[in-house]
Symmetry: D2
Subunit: 286 residues, 4 copies
């Protein structure tokens, strides 16, 4: 925690109070947010089935990839515009807000039309022309940490967006690349409280990308909330074994359902509540 920090607008020194902003009735940065959905939009039935399920659980944010940044040019690249349109339709029907990844600055208008939060993926965290364009887009941005980016570089990427005129930025820790191969990435849990010290921006965690193994999603999600995260983004699929991408790390619907009360209990320990909690009472905690 060096004294002279290279970022300004995103720092706690610049602004002491937590940044908060409302999307779909949820006050991000104050209430804990849950974003859920499939890795990729695959077809109408899939995204409507999942959206209906999420809405019954009172989830407010739907994630889904329309443009997929795949390591191989021969892998499924997403449904593109059609994927965004399906997301919008399903979200409108079930009262959800749409979170989807934008890969190129030529798609800004399209994403502004169909999505509510524009996600910057790990490979584009230092795509500065894109960051600047998002700074001028007026839309909330979910900024994933680069897979080998330091916390300082991550905050500087956020500074690119904020200094371009947009302070509605949600940071997202999604695991970093290390020598360990037992998990897909290494979740940097200490980054959560450290970012909360260094910055006023909300920070959430992606346990699906971070671990790559669905059995680790629950314990890591609980850990994230215990450590002070402002929310989670979790991959959920109605048929993970049939998923076109990242099936191994997607929760079954009933696993996701089972996770929610445990998260609520964690939230209560912090005297916070999750956006999916319809009624809310403090429990007495010592």
């Amino acid at each position: 925690m060096a004294n002279r920090k290279p970022y300004q607008l995103v720092s706690r020194e610049w602004k002491k109070e937590d940044t908060t902003f409302e999307i779909n009735g949820v006050c991000i940065g104050k209430d804990l947010v849950m974003i859920a959905g499939p890795c990729a939009v695959e077809n109408r039935e899939q995204i409507f089935t999942i959206s209906e399920y999420l809405s019954k659980l009172n989830i407010k944010f739907l994630r889904g990839g329309a443009y997929k940044p795949r390591t191989s040019p021969y892998s499924f690249q997403g449904l593109k515009t059609e994927g965004l349109q399906l997301l919008r339709e399903a979200a409108d029907k079930y009262g959800l807000a749409v979170v989807s990844e934008i890969m190129g600055l030529d798609k800004i208008d399209e994403f502004c039309e169909y999505a509510d939060i524009l996600q910057v993926g790990t490979r584009n965290m230092q795509n500065y022309p894109l960051l600047k364009a998002l700074g001028k887009s007026g839309k909330p941005v979910l900024l994933k940490r680069g897979m080998s980016s330091t916390i300082e570089e991550w905050l500087l990427a956020a500074e690119y967006i904020v200094s371009s005129g947009n302070d509605r930025v949600i940071l997202c820790e999604r695991g970093i690349r290390t020598f360990e191969t037992a998990t897909r990435n290494t979740m940097d849990i200490a980054a959560i409280p450290l970012v909360k010290i260094l910055s006023h921006l909300p920070v959430i965690l992606d346990p699906s990308q971070g671990t790559g193994l669905r059995d680790l999603v629950k314990p890591v999600s609980l850990a994230a909330i215990a450590a002070g995260a402002d929310g989670l983004i979790i991959e959920v699929h109605n048929q993970p074994e049939e998923a076109l991408s990242d099936g191994d790390q997607s929760l079954y619907l009933d696993q996701f359902t089972d996770l929610l009360p445990n998260l609520r209990a964690q939230a209560h320990l912090r005297k916070k509540h999750f956006d999916f909690e319809s009624s809310y009472e403090f429990s007495n905690l010592s």
Copy 2:
């Protein structure tokens, strides 16, 4: 999670039930354990002051380095035998068990005389002659993860101890080495639930070494318990700013006191209790 695992005796396949064993009245592996104390034993007053303090909080395990593995030969190397003797004296007076790091196999007898749990440090995780000797020592072993060891290598190091005749092994995640320099190491939180799936051995977490920053010790400790850890080992000092080693990561005594009820609440969510909890009642959690 490959199918054919190179370790056997430490695997869940070999033994389905959690390994548990009693030390100083605490059932390790069943109850959650708290090990606290200074990085290094510095003098009689220091270790007795801290020990008295811990005993008042009902802490049962005292950590303290007598032989210190320092990166530089010119740094404080520990009080050695005298340090072990001071630990033993203080522990006996205040009802504590002693946890201390052994660096060489020529010191086995000395450690068996003075310590209750023999700690293998991160630099010695693959010191196989030492591991084999500890396997024959009859003493419980706290095996820290090597700073660049995979989970598989870590479990194989434990296999060295267990296959030499000693199954009282406590694994300890202490952070791994990555490109990130904002924290001393990167806490691999997902390693906790993954090890619990792969092995029946208890696993604890060291947030002090793992983060290197005292302000991160509390949130990371809570995260560890939320993720399923069997306990914690935490550096506490009566005068951190005067500490001969690792002062920046040592908690002040009142910070440590403040941490305990929060940990207790986390334990209750898992229907577990910490060894420092004298009375114990389940709260109703959904």
Copy 3:
């Protein structure tokens, strides 16, 4: 070296002979190429001074950043269009080809007008929309390895370009991110011969970015040629201590001059010659 490789068109299995193509009279992939110049174009005097110097040494390729991907939004971002124009003017006057980094797909036309080789920087190695656009641009591409990209991911990034219709791709190893902080990055020297086994594409090395220290540029450059590299890209500045970016890793002009005969000797050991060698004779080597 797994048997089933996820890339095809860039693989040795697909095409046994080395890919070669001519730019500015040099047969890339056959002759060894030297690309030199400043990190960033700063002003007319700087780029013309350096270009004149390089042309006297018979260097054929001028590098220079016009759009700079800087970690901080407050750092010098490059002269942009003006920088590209200055590069073109200087290159035309001194018989050089221009190599410059493109950051966004909205600049393809501009770069096609002013540059001869379009460089993809380490932060954009997985900017797939950009890679696809470059595949259709018809211009040679210099593809830097991502700072935390595996060799497989790097070759798959090249596959994106080649499968989009452009097989004039030069790979560039520029160091990877590791725990070591003594150098700016860690040069992965083994990547050079490994890529030559796996792929038919030419591969060069950037010792300036890779080490971050000008005193290491010479030995690492010699090592790269010894290991089989098809060339080098080196930062050279007429006044490194005044440079607006990366001065510490830029060679002084006389250091660069001194390097050349040593590189020529290395080339002769491989029975190759560098593009700056005007006359050329094999020495007898056992």
Copy 4:
């Protein structure tokens, strides 16, 4: 290259001239040294066959593991004392010096009896009791870099040995652990010239451990000499496909033979000669 260095006796500031010392007629630190042999001593026939072969090539140093630090307790652990005795016998018959790895300080006397250079493996680089004991042993030490050790930590490990009274230390870069899995480790080629700037100690490179792939041994060996290394340690086996350990990275005998003239040519470029060169003439190099 920070100004205040934590090591002293091993630094260039302390001693400007290169450290040199003679073993088996070779002036280490002045002449380039070649250490070759199998990963592990397996039986009499194997070690005598390889030793005879090496002696015919005028190689002066035989490597071979007698005590093997294996990740699994169930892997071949070496022939132990018998292995050391076989090494000594073969070495004496064929005029070789013995290099072998010592894992525990209880074996110092045994190694002093049978070996000429005591190797500290990567897992023991920070085994400080062992380093101190080696500092008092009076025997030359080959100190491998820890697989996740910084250059500073490596030099401090050497400082432990030198400050204990032994300045005959050879540093050995053997690759570091990174995210890249295409090679066993990542060879840090820049560490060679950087260590030569920072320290007066000789530094060699192990391309076998460093790459894990025999096809990369030749190019990486040539690169090491081009970058300024004082020698190499290479795994050679008469039947690699039958080797009890590390067969994939061991050179066939004829591959090793083929490597030597190429290394000699590299040495000549530096106006150095290798210990296996019986006659020696400078070629004229510009």
